[in-house]
């Protein structure tokens, strides 16, 4: 057992954890951040993906202690901090995934969206090939990846237009980037 000072989604958190606990265990069991999913606990599926300083890591293969000194982002921290307006603001990746139908069962998607965000952090105009590469560590069993890739491309196009964070909740959706996405 050791006490760890972690920085999770911008919050300083102090947790006691067994030496052998993974970051995924600490997130899910100690901090109640259950958005990070456990699909295999062996490093094979990517559903536990979180970001260390903006780069994707598999939290099921990462000892909790090695998260010390990194800025950890989980799905709960992907959306920007609320600005005081009452309208929820999401990351353009989240909005595009929702608009494009990428969220079927949704279980792989916290990891998938974080991998997509990590890609966009370093590459504002990824090619389809680069998107495939960046997401190749995240298994999805529902979508056949098509709408996921469309979602990333939609997010890229909307960000380029300075848009994409609006999460209007009228239900209408679509994936013709960038602004034709939400039909009247």
């Amino acid at each position: 057992m050791r006490v760890l000072q972690l920085e999770i989604n911008g919050d300083a958190r102090e947790v006691a954890a067994h030496d052998h606990w993974t970051l995924l265990e600490v997130l899910r069991y100690s901090l109640g951040l259950v958005g990070s999913k456990q699909g295999c606990d062996k490093g094979d599926c990517g559903s536990c993906t979180v970001l260390f300083d903006g780069k994707p890591v598999l939290s099921c293969l990462t000892l909790a202690a090695s998260a010390v000194g990194h800025q950890v982002t989980t799905i709960e921290g992907l959306a920007p901090k609320p600005t005081g307006t009452l309208q929820p603001v999401l990351d353009p990746v989240q909005v595009a995934f929702n608009d494009c139908g990428a969220l079927q069962c949704g279980f792989c998607q916290p990891g998938m969206m974080l991998s997509a965000r990590a890609l966009l952090n370093t590459n504002a105009e990824p090619s389809r090939e680069e998107i495939h590469q960046a997401l190749s560590g995240n298994l999805c069993r529902c979508t056949g990846y098509t709408q996921i890739v469309q979602a990333v491309e939609t997010a890229v196009a909307r960000i380029a237009q300075g848009d994409g964070a609006s999460a209007s909740n009228d239900g209408a959706a679509g994936h013709s980037p960038p602004d034709g996405g939400v039909p009247a």
């Binding site: 094979d44 599926c45 999401l90 069962c105 190749s136 995240n138 979508t143 909740n169 209408a172």
Partner: protein, 784 residues
């Protein structure tokens, strides 16, 4: 309105506002933000964690079990074995051959033997090691042919004293005569390997018993209602003392449509310990739980005229069932009953036998029981086209059954867009310019298929509705819909919201859907057999129209106008002839509430009487059938045997796309899953019965880099009985992807792959044989 009435295709208020247009899912934002709660995300105060002890032998008698050391371990609160839950169950009531924990025998490596609840998983795992089990090892069956021939020992007891799980032999028309008189006969052996669902969320269940003894089970299940019934029977607890809830679920594909051991174990352990108990299976355990695609060995014979018209089909199928029945009775029927479209053939016979083996039990995986025969038959059709030098699309067109017809086994076909599916893939893929002309190592292949949209066989015989909906109206304008249906990611709860919003003129943000909670929702039978959109959609229309009638009637009185002038649209009620006169739906509901008291409505759906007039004729009888056609384009590397699927076009007749985004998602997911299982996946055990690799590394799922470009093409045939014309989209579009792939490989390099999977070693061997044959007697094309 009776549940069996047809609701028609038209929008309730002129133009569709929501139906047929791209919409977000109602749980989309929750899934985008990570706030959707899945079973393993739930924690209750004082919760214990449970683990399962599993058999190390494929077939053995249990001589004794000693749990005393495990019981004595500090931190352990409960240990159970088979004698604590001895009542057998099975999803099909005629074949209850499972118990939650093995009672006297284990039947595969991984079979459940004991369960422990402890303060944490580590303690539970230590306790498992302290359980002493003495086994008497029995002969194990790994080969279905041996299980067919050998009776001693039997895996299960049956009256015949053999290892046959189910045999179905049916014939329609003069099959032998058709084969004697037809000028062209093709015979072949085909086989389909095992594959599994591998939903990314492992199975998980959590149980709690409250101070009144009421048991609540949260489970990652796609059949809440059947789990409810099974729990009641196995725990010997009245059903009204049990509540089953399905939280958000991380994929299912048929892999969560049996009652599973862990559901009974956590319930029993919660009863024993008085504490909430959760069990989460490891990825390895999910591979043992399986219920995936049955391996099948299939002999097909096809008789035809010179013009390609099919005259007869004769099939013999050996089905490897694994160790328990699961849905096996239905699987055995489906292996023959679902082949009889989209083509018209006058005579047909099938003889299917499912045997038990000492392997993880097989069950329903996306396209239950019919993906395998579809593969064999569609490859054989390609062989017919080759033999007669007919374009394979043209051959299929010539045999197409068409709408408003009856299949050879007596199934009623209403809407049928198969011809349109063929046309769309032909055009979109540029088939005419590509076939036989893509150059070395490249080719295209086609295949077609048909699938059920629900079935009129409700698993346990009863006359009650198969789907129910209940609607509650709040004065604020919020409408809450209670739906028994299991949303397994396909979006059934969203579908219900779209329908009710359309009918009542609401915007989607006014809708709440409460689903798959047996205390709160009317019964729905579950998410299987592609039944939900059709049945629950119709039930939702039924309930909504009853409610709309009340509201429209009250407003007409209130405004003193005829009812036809009242329109509910986009959250408002309007008078069509007086633009000044309108109000919010909240106000409209309040006016109706004054007249009718508290507002609400129920609706339901039941299938009409369907099916052939013979034993088993109702199995595979569906109120509507979906149709698909695929064209696959491949490149085969003749040096390495690697198959690169470049692009897949799938046209699918879903009747009407209630939300085209979700339909495309189902088509794409189906195509991905079919191509991946054909190329990469193999669920198998070695000769000792040991699983060959129960991990997502050894059982490789296709990644973004392995998945082809998929073009989904939606065909709308407007089914007369579907909700606004809709049929299924979740399973049909998998079927013909696999034979189209095999047929494309033939077009590319001239090898006929009749046995799955198409791994590089198989491809290389076939290419070698072809070269050897070509050298002996040069001729185009050869056989693998």
């Amino acid at each position: 309105m009776s549940a069996r009435d047809q609701h028609g295709l038209a929008a309730p208020h002129g133009e569709f506002q929501i139906i047929g247009k791209p919409q977000r899912k109602i749980d989309g934002a929750a899934k985008a933000t990570g706030s959707a709660l899945y079973t393993d995300d739930l924690t209750l105060p004082g919760m214990l964690h449970a683990k399962t002890l599993r058999s190390p032998h494929p077939h053995a008698r249990i001589v004794s079990i000693d749990t005393s050391a495990a019981q004595a371990l500090p931190g352990v609160h409960g240990v159970i074995t088979g004698k604590d839950l001895p009542t057998p169950y099975g999803v099909i009531p005629w074949t209850p051959d499972e118990t939650a924990l093995a009672v006297d025998k284990v039947r595969f490596i991984g079979d459940e033997v004991a369960a422990v609840a402890a303060v944490d998983e580590d303690t539970a795992l230590r306790a498992l090691e302290l359980i002493q089990v003495e086994y008497e090892v029995l002969h194990s069956y790994q080969d279905p042919k041996e299980a067919l021939e050998r009776d001693e020992p039997t895996i299960h007891q049956n009256k015949r004293g053999d290892n046959v799980s189910k045999r179905v032999k049916l014939d329609f028309g003069e099959v032998d005569q058709a084969f004697e008189t037809s000028p062209v006969v093709i015979k072949g052996d085909y086989s389909f390997h095992g594959s599994t669902h591998a939903a990314i969320e492992p199975h998980c269940a959590l149980a709690q018993v409250d101070g009144d003894g009421l048991l609540t089970l949260w489970s990652a299940t796609q059949i809440t209602h059947y789990v409810h019934r099974a729990l009641s029977s196995v725990l010997d607890l009245a059903p009204h003392r049990i509540r089953v809830i399905q939280p958000a679920i991380g994929g299912a594909f048929g892999g969560k449509s049996d009652p599973f051991s862990l559901e009974f174990c956590v319930a029993k352990l919660a009863q024993i310990t008085g504490r909430p108990v959760k069990m989460l299976w490891t990825r390895e355990e999910v591979f043992y739980a399986h219920r995936g695609r049955h391996p099948m060995e299939m002999q097909y014979s096809l008789a035809a005229n010179e013009d390609g018209k099919i005259q007869g089909v004769d099939a013999r199928i050996l089905i490897d069932g694994g160790s328990y029945s699961s849905f096996g009775l239905v699987t055995t029927y489906y292996s023959g009953q679902l082949l009889t479209g989209p083509y018209d053939f006058p005579t047909y016979r099938f003889d299917s036998t499912r045997v038990f083996t000492n392997k993880p039990p097989c069950g329903p995986k996306r396209g239950h029981g019919s993906v395998q025969p579809r593969f064999a038959f569609e490859v054989q059709l390609d062989e017919l086209a080759e033999k007669l030098s007919i374009d394979p699309i043209e051959l299929r067109r010539r045999n197409s059954l068409g709408p408003q017809t009856k299949t050879v086994n007596g199934q009623r076909i209403t809407s049928c867009g198969f011809d349109e599916c063929l046309l769309q893939v032909e055009e979109a893929s540029d088939w005419k310019n590509k076939r036989q002309s893509l150059g070395s190592g490249k080719g295209v292949g086609v295949a077609g298929s048909m699938y059920i949209t629900g079935t009129n066989y409700p698993i346990y015989p009863n006359e009650m509705p198969q789907a129910g909906i209940q609607i509650k109206v709040d004065r604020s304008g919020v409408v809450t819909v209670f739906s028994g249906a299991n949303d397994i990611g396909q979006g059934s709860s969203s579908m219900v919201a779209y329908v009710v919003a359309e009918e009542l003129g609401l915007t989607l943000d006014m809708l709440r859907v409460v689903a798959a909670d047996t205390d709160l929702c009317p019964v729905d039978l579950g998410a299987y057999s592609s039944r939900v959109t059709f049945m629950v959609g119709n039930a939702a229309i039924d309930a909504s129209r009853k409610l709309r009638k009340l509201v429209v009637g009250s407003l007409a009185k209130h405004w003193d106008v005829e009812e036809r002038r009242v329109r509910l649209v986009k959250g408002e009620a309007l008078d069509l002839e007086d633009p000044e006169r309108h109000m919010t739906m909240a106000e409209a509901f309040q006016i109706a509430e004054v007249e009718h008291d508290t507002l609400g409505a129920t609706g339901s759906y039941n299938t009409p009487t369907l099916g052939g007039d013979y034993r088993g004729g109702s199995i595979g009888a569906s109120p509507a059938y979906s149709f698909s056609a695929h064209v696959v384009e491949v490149e085969v590397d003749e040096e390495t045997g690697r198959i690169d699927v470049q692009e897949v076009w799938c046209a699918h007749d879903c009747g009407k796309a209630l939300n085209p985004i979700l339909v495309s998602g189902q088509i794409e997911g189906s195509v991905y899953m079919g191509i991946a299982e054909a190329l990469y996946e193999h669920h198998q055990t070695n000769r000792f019965g040991l699983h060959s690799g129960p991990s997502l590394l050894d059982y490789p799922l296709a990644t973004t880099l392995d998945t082809p470009e998929i073009k989904s093409l939606i065909v709308e045939s407007n089914d007369p009985e579907g909700p606004y014309g809709a049929k299924e989209a979740g399973e049909g579009p998998l079927h013909s992807a696999i034979p189209a792939l095999s047929n494309a490989i033939f077009d590319a390099v001239g090898i006929r792959l009749r046995h799955l999977p198409f791994t590089p070693d198989v491809v290389l061997r076939a290419l070698r044989e072809k070269r050897a044959n070509d050298n002996q007697a040069p001729s185009p094309g050869s056989d693998a």
